[in-house]
């Protein structure tokens, strides 16, 4: 009977979609208990969240805006994981991407498409180097990527805080960089929105106008394109084949003639580049500048959860990122509606996410243990 249970467990843990849905439901149940303990009516709270996500087109638009960077950092983490690397450094790579995008957006003066391409391109390159560095350190010196990327995260954070104090980059004392040029922004119809016709349109069209009131931008389109790209690289190219082989079994990959060290560096380069793109789109589409950070913003760390929930695939990251964004945005609504402190809301969201990600984590741990036992 022992093995029967084993088989069942395995089937359960491996059935991705069904399992994810069950975990989401369980997560919400546990979140409800936490709300109850904190003295809030969970049904009311969930209703507020639901309304806060879906009741107005503006809200949906915000969910998408919240989700965009999470989807992309999720892709970043997922890509590295498929090669067997745990990129905790998406956070730092995101920051490096954001710095480069803000700098390129402010210092250059170019036509729109060219300017955006340049800003994103530079951000991706610098962040790719930032990620690739961790890959190189691992390949060359055997330093585990978790260690090196954590340190690189801090370097990136302090570097970011340093550059905003530079006179050429930001006005003194504000702790913010100068806003990027309008040609570097990827917001939709931003000029037209403040024209008279635009204001009139927003006033008279409820649904569309609502959406236009938000900093809606092209980031989500790029995020989806990147998700497709990640899926394509991993599944359709020889590069993806190599990376997956290394991720599953580096010993067999090496014996088969694949350069394992090179694969690690390439994987971290691409992973870093993706996280950098997330930072770039956030700057070009939402914040338009970078600011001094008291702590890490967590886009990269959230990407770990997004990747796990999304089963480390491209399409999975899109949906997981949207779920994550929705919870973050919808959850914030409880504060006003029910006077719930943010801490309680964050604990609730954290619980839900933890629960959703946990079976994947358990499975991940199982696979690693299994592999270790084998070697």
């Amino acid at each position: 009977m022992k093995l029967n249970g084993e088989v069942l467990k395995r089937k359960f843990l491996n059935g991705s979609l069904g399992l994810t849905l069950i975990s989401i439901v369980l997560g919400f149940l546990l979140g409800a208990i936490i709300l109850l303990v904190a003295g809030f009516n969970p049904l009311e709270a969930y209703w507020v969240i639901l309304k806060g996500i879906f009741s107005r087109s503006k809200y949906i638009s915000y969910v998408i805006i919240y989700a965009t960077p999470l989807i992309i950092t999720g892709l970043s983490v997922a890509f590295a994981l498929r090669t067997g690397l745990f990129n905790i450094g998406a956070e730092g790579q995101y920051i490096m991407g954001a710095i480069m995008a803000a700098a390129a957006g402010y210092f250059f003066k170019l036509p729109l498409i060219l300017h955006v391409t340049l800003a994103v391109g530079l951000a991706v390159i610098v962040a790719a180097i930032w990620g690739g560095l961790a890959g190189y350190i691992k390949a060359r010196f055997g330093v585990h990527e978790v260690i090196s990327t954590i340190m690189l995260n801090w370097i990136a954070l302090y570097f970011s805080n340093f550059v905003v104090t530079l006179k050429v980059f930001g006005s003194q004392g504000t702790g913010k960089s100068y806003a990027i040029q309008s040609t570097a922004r990827i917001n939709l119809l931003s000029d037209w929105k403040i024209s008279e016709a635009g204001i009139e349109f927003i006033r008279s069209h409820k649904v569309l106008g609502d959406i236009l009131k938000t900093p809606i931008n092209a980031g989500i389109i790029f995020a989806i394109l990147l998700a497709v790209l990640v899926w394509y690289i991993l599944n359709k190219t020889t590069l993806g084949y190599e990376l997956r082989a290394v991720g599953f079994n580096p010993h067999a990959a090496e014996a088969g003639g694949i350069n394992v060290k090179k694969s690690m560096v390439i994987s971290m380069l691409i992973s870093g580049g993706l996280a950098g793109a997330a930072g770039a789109f956030q700057v070009l589409g939402v914040s338009h500048r970078i600011a001094k950070l008291a702590a890490m913003e967590g886009y990269g760390f959230d990407g770990i959860a997004v990747s796990l929930i999304g089963n480390n695939t491209g399409p999975g990251s899109v949906f997981a990122g949207l779920l994550f964004g929705a919870l973050k945005y919808g959850g914030s609504k409880i504060q006003d509606a029910m006077q719930a402190p943010t801490e309680v809301i964050n604990i609730m969201i954290g619980t839900i996410i933890l629960f959703v990600a946990m079976p994947k984590l358990i499975r991940l741990i199982l696979t690693i243990l299994e592999r270790r036992a084998k070697n």
Partner: protein, 510 residues
């Protein structure tokens, strides 16, 4: 000679059934062991021998059936309960801490202590020495595990079981890791144990060992109880037929050899192991077309390092490797595979041979994915890949014939077929086969041997590395013996004397 006391039944397993889901691993097996008896369990891989002893040792609970120990019906819930009942087991893979001494290993988990939980090593050491003396185990309680031979480590495992009061010892494939001489020592130890009234259950598929050491033999085939026989009254042939269920030929069928020119030459090769010690230390060897050169030797004499050096996985510290007179020392794995066309059946198929999570097709192209038609300019061509895999599963009889199945879901024999398909289908100049039949059953072994012989008959060179002396002697044309990183002797396989090779394997000179 025999020490059996027929009046005392120590172990009785009656109609034991063990099911895993719908799969019946043991179907009404009966086993009776008397005091002082050596009872061997014989069966092919996957026949259910290990499952049966695991039921006895408390690792599994039988689905049905009864177990009696010394006449008492018992439920053995876990290994601790088994130990309490006087059952000890020596696993195939030793469970020892390398950096601990013999005594520390033996008392691990049941440390003898003085007051306040302070270890009383001295007392434990004395007891270990006593037991060692009594059964002729020749173990120094203060030696560290990492400093003693594999044979000694096995004796430490036996000692551990005895220390815990074992009356019944289960030995799981005990001879797989031993030299012929060490096997003889083990036989002596087993005799000492039975003289002292211990009972032994020994799992093996080596027939001549059963003949040599066992009193009774129970044969299991595909989970079913076939028979229990008195070993003296049957021949090895009869045992084999009962095990496999058909007549088997032990000899590998080979045509007369057409030995060709020299193709691979290894000169003064030095390769260091992970600790920086020269595991291969001045090794010389030549390999010719149309021959199978077998390398015999006990595990840990540099075989793995030699193969890793030849395949480019490990750095060569000195000497040279030449292919057709061309220096290939220091080539990367990819060059060795794709440029020099030297292919390898690795010793650990799950670690080095296969990406277990990949499907059969993806595993089949592991060394050729970058070539047309499998990919064009970096884009994989799935149609071509799976068409090729379909072809391979048929030609190489990989079952089930479904290229979309993951390697993980295949049996060991079929996993090995995937590797053989991959390595042989490109018609390699040199085929290195390292432990190619480890853990395989008789049918799969025949398949692998035929594949090797086919390569040879097509005028290609095969280097066979195996710890199984029988295999080396049966399959090879020439036999080289490796000892401490050197080739200590090369003989023709025809008319070879097993004892002569055994002596060389242990470092002696014939």
């Amino acid at each position: 000679m025999t020490a059996i006391d027929f009046s005392q039944k120590i172990v009785e397993m009656i109609d034991v059934v063990k099911k895993f889901g719908d799969f019946v691993a043991n179907d009404r097996i009966n086993l009776t062991v008397h005091k002082g008896e050596v009872h061997s369990l014989l069966g092919e891989n996957g026949a259910g021998k290990t499952t049966l002893v695991n039921c006895l040792y408390g690792l599994y609970r039988p689905t049905q059936g009864r177990i009696r120990i010394k006449g008492q019906e018992v439920e053995i819930s876990d290994p601790n309960a088994a130990i309490q009942l006087g059952i000890g087991m020596v696993h195939q893979h030793f469970m020892l801490v390398d950096t601990f001494t013999v005594t520390q290993n033996i008392i691990l988990g049941r440390e003898t202590t003085k007051m306040m939980g302070v270890l009383d090593i001295a007392r434990a050491e004395k007891k270990v020495a006593e037991i060692s003396e009594r059964y002729g185990l020749a173990i120094n309680p203060r030696d560290k595990i990492q400093d003693i031979s594999v044979g000694s480590q096995q004796r430490v495992e036996i000692l551990k079981a005895l220390y815990r009061g074992a009356e019944i010892l289960i030995l799981d494939e005990p001879t797989a890791v031993l030299t012929p001489q060490e096997i003889q020592e083990l036989v002596m130890i087993i005799r000492n144990l039975t003289q002292e009234g211990k009972s032994i259950i020994i799992i093996t598929h080596k027939l001549h060992e059963i003949k040599q050491v066992a009193d009774y033999c129970t044969i299991i085939r595909r989970g079913k109880f076939i028979d229990t026989v008195e070993v003296d009254k049957v021949t090895e042939q009869e045992l084999a037929s009962m095990m496999v269920g058909r007549e088997v030929s032990f000899a590998v069928e080979k045509k007369a050899q057409q030995k060709g020119e020299q193709i691979l030459a290894i000169q003064d090769l030095v390769v260091k192991d992970n600790r920086g010690i020269a595991a291969v230390n001045g090794l010389n060897l030549t390999l010719h077309k149309g021959e199978i050169l077998g390398i015999a030797g006990v595990d840990g004499n540099g075989q793995s390092e030699l193969v890793e050096a030849l395949t480019g996985l490990r750095k060569v510290a000195g000497g040279s490797i030449t292919l057709r007179g061309k220096e290939i020392t220091g080539s990367k794995p990819k060059e060795v595979i794709n440029r020099w066309n030297i292919r390898t059946i690795p010793e650990d198929r799950q670690k080095r041979g296969l990406v277990m999570e990949f499907d059969v097709a993806e595993n089949l192209i592991l060394e050729t994915y970058h070539d047309t038609p499998f990919s064009v300019r970096g884009m994989l061509n799935r149609d071509k890949i799976y068409a090729y895999a379909d072809h391979c599963t048929q030609v190489y009889d990989i079952r089930p014939t479904n290229p979309y199945l993951t390697a993980k879901s295949l049996s060991g024999g079929n996993q090995q077929k995937v590797i053989i398909a991959r390595e042989v289908s490109n018609d390699p100049e040199v085929l290195i086969a390292s432990q190619p039949t480890r853990g395989l059953d008789v049918g799969a072994i025949e398949y692998v041997h035929t594949a090797l012989v086919n390569q040879r008959d097509r005028g290609k060179a095969v280097l066979l590395i195996s710890f199984e002396l029988d295999e080396v002697m049966n399959v090879s044309d020439r036999i080289a013996v490796i000892f401490e990183g050197k080739i200590v002797g090369i003989v023709d396989a025809i008319g070879v004397d097993e004892n002569e090779i055994g002596l060389m394997m242990a470092g002696g000179t014939p």
